[in-house]
């Protein structure tokens, strides 16, 4: 039986992690994640979970220890944000290159400089090319559900890849929301026992992890990583089906909101999608066919499915809570790539919003939807990329 609770995003995810009963957890503080691992440490201290903690001296060591622990053979977790994820960058590639299914919630936060502790997506977008699966979450319920599913996805014997579960710093990590917890036994049964694959602790069959591979086979190893990524989509969908059976909550590669007959659409990640949906509803009430696409699986990116979902729209705005300075926003580049394959493409614009935790207001969504409405009727784009909600 589901239990209805009022908890913060951090607490919800800490509970999902506890329910998966990992063998090892690396812990290092960074705002706004800190509170999640504090909760986890209290579970350990109070005997609620049998996880062995490792209280590292940096995020670099956190990911290094996770890699060692995962290669040793067992379920491994950690969590981080922002600068911590940036410090891990080198090791993120090694976790995925070694095909180790480490599960890591990333509580999204801006990157320095200037120093800022609030929510934006610069951290995880910066880790886009590290070979990790990335799943994004709108609210505490999403983050909790995605964390539970992440174990099944990453540990799937056809996949064996690390997974980041992204949730917005403060907006979700520190806000108390109503949500539903699954029973411990249900989650335990859903996630299943960790299946070992080539564990280092198997003394009878010694293995060498992390060889030097140069021009002879490196290229083939990287192709293997590319190929395994192509299998992730189906596993995500299969796991989502099983999850729906257990929880009644439906998940896909992305969420389509009032998109079927939409003329104009927003593409927007995480918590701001909630605000946007309210504004979409008000536009619908005015008779304007507006819709929204909220990506969930960002790596691997479901290009064909996204293109299919947006193909009948006339104008789309991709909202990015991160920037690739000198380029377009990272999500815009994905959507643009997805739509390029279509014969008839909607007009496409890019707005950068909410950096460093700047509030995203309904008025921002209204502004953008009005602009899209004009583009849809005139076919004219004023500017492709623009910052919104910015002080002039």
């Amino acid at each position: 039986m589901a239990k209805i609770v009022a908890v913060t995003g951090n607490e919800a995810v800490a509970n999902a992690l506890r329910q998966a009963s990992p063998d090892v957890c690396a812990i290092y503080p960074i705002t706004p994640q800190t509170d999640m691992m504090q909760k986890y440490a209290s579970f350990i201290a109070n005997g609620k979970v049998s996880t062995e903690p490792i209280l590292v001296e940096s995020e670099h060591s956190s990911m290094s220890a996770c890699i060692g622990a995962s290669a040793a053979g067992g379920r491994v977790i950690t969590a981080t944000s922002s600068q911590g994820l940036a410090l891990m960058w080198e090791m993120l590639h090694i976790a995925s290159g070694d095909r180790l299914p480490i599960i890591m919630p990333v509580v999204n936060r801006a990157l320095s400089a200037p120093l800022n502790i609030h929510g934006d997506h610069s951290d995880a977008m910066g880790a886009r090319d590290t070979g990790w699966i990335q799943i994004w979450s709108e609210n505490a319920q999403d983050a909790y559900d995605n964390t539970i599913q992440a174990f099944r996805i990453g540990e799937h014997m056809d996949i064996r890849l690390p997974v980041m579960v992204c949730l917005d710093g403060f907006i979700i990590s520190h806000s108390i929301e109503r949500m539903e917890y699954l029973e411990d036994a249900e989650v335990k049964n859903f996630v299943g026992e960790f299946k070992n694959f080539l564990p280092l602790l198997d003394l009878d069959k010694p293995k060498s992890y992390g060889p030097l591979i140069l021009t002879d086979y490196y290229h083939e190893y990287k192709r293997a990583q590319h190929e395994v990524m192509t299998k992730v989509k189906n596993v995500v969908l299969d796991v989502a089906k099983d999850f729906e059976k257990m929880s009644g909550r439906k998940y896909g590669l992305f969420e389509s909101y009032r998109l079927d007959d939409a003329d104009i659409a927003l593409v927007i990640l995480n918590s701001a999608a909630g605000t946007s949906k309210d504004v979409i509803d008000s536009f619908r009430n005015k008779g304007i066919k507006a819709g929204l696409l909220k990506p969930r699986l960002f790596r691997p990116f479901p290009y064909e499915e996204v293109a299919e979902a947006l193909k009948n729209t006339k104008a789309v705005c991709v909202m990015d809570r991160a920037d690739s300075f000198g380029g377009y926003g990272p999500m815009f580049m994905e959507i643009s790539s997805a739509l390029y394959q279509l014969k008839e493409k909607p007009a496409l614009i890019n707005k950068i919003y909410g950096l460093g935790g700047r509030d995203y207001m309904p008025s921002h969504a209204e502004l953008v939807l009005n602009e899209l409405n004009e583009i849809a009727s005139s076919g004219k784009i004023r500017i492709v990329k623009e910052y919104i909600g910015v002080r002039e």
Binding site: D23, V24, A26, S50, T51, E52, I54, L55, V56, E57, S58, H60, S61, S64, A65, C66, I67, G68, A69, S70, A71, A72, G73, G74, V76, E90, M91, I94, D98, L200, L201, D202, L203, P206, K207, S208, Y209, G210, P211, L212, I213, L214, D216, Y217
Partner: protein
């Protein structure tokens, strides 16, 4: 079963670091690794920092390691093995593993004194049951002989070259063995492959302590030292006998010198056969050679005092 440290008994033991690795002829590092593993009478899992030993011992589908071995990156051999050891403890506590396993991290001086220093310090402070072995050849040899904080005073390296104005490295070595001792770990020691019995006894002793242990072992590099390939052990011996590389241990905070040279030789005897110190024998650099001797003497006297007072 524990093996005695006689050549006869050791010769019957299987090498767990095997032939076929691609270390340079005359390199001290594989000798050090073999000795460490020969003296380890337990199942053992090792991690390895990026460096000469790592790039030469596991290439594509070939590995020289007959034990479980993991390399992840340069600065984190200690953090990586601490993760392996933590998983071991977790599974043991859960009853999923029953064997007693030892854990060793190998790193060169660059990966230990410099870039891996934080990771090493963290792992030692956390108290993992592991032995960290630094094979110290005194520079970043794998990338082509660049200065590290283990590079001796006056040495010529590619990033502190001996030139017309600057005569090589002007800073003294970091005393890592003492720094590790200051972590209040149960055991820290310094050893040399020339004194193999002393080295192997220290490894055996290290394994008997539960908790973090550290060993700093000299590993001559004929490419970087610009010496003869057959001189590794001779040079190791001169390093010890000149007290440039004293053999000692710090057990529960108490320093003990494990070998005192009968006739302490001038440090110049150790330096002369090495091309990296050649410029110090020019009259213009006599002052620096003198300074090296003074520093070696000063450090040796300090160490003797520490050993005498039992602190």
């Amino acid at each position: 079963m524990a093996t005695g440290l006689t050549l006869k008994e050791l010769s019957k033991k299987e090498d767990r670091f095997t032939h076929g690795h691609r270390m340079c002829s005359g390199c001290g590092a594989p000798t050090v690794v073999k000795m460490v593993l020969l003296a380890t009478d337990y199942p053992v899992i090792a991690s390895n920092a990026t460096g000469c030993l790592e790039v030469s011992s596991c290439i594509s589908e070939y590995t020289a390691w007959k034990i479980p071995w993991i390399h992840t990156a340069f600065e984190n051999a200690a953090a990586t093995i601490s993760g392996v050891e933590t998983m071991y403890r977790s599974l043991k506590k859960q009853g999923k593993i029953d064997k007693d396993i030892k854990f060793i991290a190998f790193g060169g001086d660059g990966g230990t004194y410099d870039i891996g220093f934080q990771s090493l310090s963290g792992a030692m402070e956390r108290g993992h049951d592991m032995l960290y072995v630094c094979y110290d050849n005194g520079a970043y040899m794998n990338t082509g002989i660049q200065r590290s904080s283990a590079t001796p005073l006056g040495a010529d390296t590619t990033t502190c070259p001996a030139g017309d104005v600057i005569p090589g490295k002007l800073r003294s070595r970091k005393n890592l063995t003492k720094i590790m001792g200051a972590h209040n770990i149960p055991y820290a020691a310094q050893a040399s492959p020339s004194h193999w019995m002393d080295l192997m006894k220290k490894v055996k002793k290290a394994h008997e302590f539960i908790g973090p242990k550290f060993m700093n072992i000299l590993a001559p590099c004929n490419r970087g030292w610009r010496s003869q390939t057959n001189d590794s052990i001779t040079l190791s011996k001169l390093a010890v006998n000149s007290c440039y590389w004293p053999l000692y241990e710090i057990e529960d905070g108490v320093t003990k010198i494990t070998y005192t040279p009968k006739d302490k030789v001038p440090v110049a005897d150790f330096m002369k056969p090495q091309g990296r110190f050649k410029h110090l024998f020019a009259p213009a650099n006599e002052w620096l050679l003198k300074k090296v001797q003074e520093e070696v003497d000063k450090e040796w006297e300090k160490l003797k005092k520490q050993a005498e007072c039992g602190c």
